[in-house]
Amino acid sequence: MSQQVFVLGAGMHPWGKWGRNFVEYGVVAARRALSDAGVDWQDVDFVAGANTVRNGYPGYVSGATFAQALGWNGAQISSSYAACASGAQAIASARAQILAGLSDVALVVGADTTPKGFLKPNSGERWDDPDWLRFRLLGATNPTYFGLYARRRMDLYGATEEDFARVKVKNAAHGLHNEYARYRKAFTMEDVLSSPMVADPLRLLQICATSDGAAALVLCSERYAKKHGATVRIGGLSTATPTFPQTIIEMPEFATDSSAQQPPPSHTFKESLAAGAYEAAGVGPADLNLAEVYDLSSALELDWYEDIGMCARGEAEGLVREGVTTIGGRCPVNPSGGLACFGEAVPAQAIAQVCELTWQLRGECGERQVEGAKVGLAINQGLFGHGSCTILLR
């Protein structure tokens, strides 16, 4: 049994759009993580893959796919799909093996190659699939949901288009210093506010793109960490599902649950992800030095500040206006540049968040370094009740 799980290595392939086979990107990231860890691939005893569902069979069995690509070494494997939380579920899988004493050193890999434009369902008619029906019956895309959340912030809390643009400008400035980011360009408020409207009030430059990319981690037991000098450990990891009734309309649903018979739980789904990780790690929002949150839209980042307890509901705009969440502020958010600079490579993204936390906690982030980083949080959410929150400690 291992009481703690350490992050020994982190590696990424840059995000971009080349249309190459996802396995190529994954192997690059995996080899970088192994090299960063100083671990020989043949010593890895567990491979946790994060699946891609847009690349045929090999994508559904990613653990085996990457193990084979690196050269079969007899390792045990898992392959996880959890929408945007797939990478975190893969981390959780490897972590559980190590905690149970069934693995000493595990490799976690996620990679994707993604089509242009709106994310859309696989072809064919599927009248019993809400993710198909919401396109057919409503024309509700992913940005539709982001737009709903953003508009609510405006009408309830007085958020402005400028507030949302400010988040994009902040993240773009952070991403300038990240060699793995796809978009490394300083946007002005004017650039953002003059981009075309997609899902009112969200404009093109406020909605994340979809990208190719890959990220990998080497996790290990306490025993292995002692021999190899790891300093960063996983303090907590939650992959909780919602509790009935879910009161916030979520992709790809047509409606929320009803809270007529059963009152809503004390935490919303996203709050519960953070709460679970905080409790396991023994820290709270005041202890955070930095956070990586899933900025599918720049307005959504503001919801996340509140979900992770950085401030009360309705006050997130204040944090960004005051520079609290910019590098140099009290608790930078998305020092990596976030999805704003990466775009989303579904199975790799949650792993990339943890790579950033790892490098930040080790002090290896150069111009985007958060000073004195010791406690970092990564959080994300995907379709069909998926989500995760990971807290790293040094």
Partner: protein, 156 residues
């Protein structure tokens, strides 16, 4: 602002059966668990969503015709397949999330043609109507939509 009521004559069919009824009392059709009375929409669940209830028996139930806007947004670009756009140049439309008080739930739906995000605000009252979603070789396919109850051009 106009809307087309669903008429039970040839050439008009719902884009999906059993989810809504047209006419003067147009409404969504939910499903109510016969064991614990939890209501769901769409009415296609097999198992009660309440984790404490193991029932799989539902009865159809008409849902509230009116609600309040929880939020709204636009579809400024044509959604990808399987969305079927009306013929001709793409016309942006508005999508609403509407809170139904009795059912204590939020339901999505397009706004009727001609309603833009600039015309509405969170909290506005809306009621359900039925309009054309698209036309195919068999005729019009209809869908539920939401129409603001107050006249447009009100103070914002």
């Amino acid at each position: 602002m106009t809307h087309e009521e669903s008429r039970p004559i040839g050439g008009q069919k719902p884009a999906i059966e059993g989810w809504f009824e047209g006419g003067e009392d147009a409404h969504l059709t939910g499903a109510r668990c016969t064991a614990c009375s939890t209501v769901v929409f769409p009415p296609t669940r097999t198992f009660c969503p309440h984790p404490g209830c193991a029932s799989d028996a539902f009865e159809p139930v008409p849902m509230s015709r009116q609600g309040r806007i929880w939020s709204y947004t636009s579809a400024s670009y044509k959604p990808p397949e399987p969305y079927i756009a009306p013929e001709g140049e793409f016309e942006p439309f508005t999508i609403l999330a509407v809170e139904l008080e009795k059912e204590a739930m939020v339901v999505l739906g397009q706004a009727v043609r001609g309603v833009t995000p600039q015309d509405i605000t969170v909290g506005d009252a809306v009621e359900l109507v039925v309009e054309t979603l698209y036309r195919d070789e068999d005729g019009e396919r209809t869908i539920w939509k939401w129409k603001p109850v107050d006249a447009p051009g009100g103070a914002r």
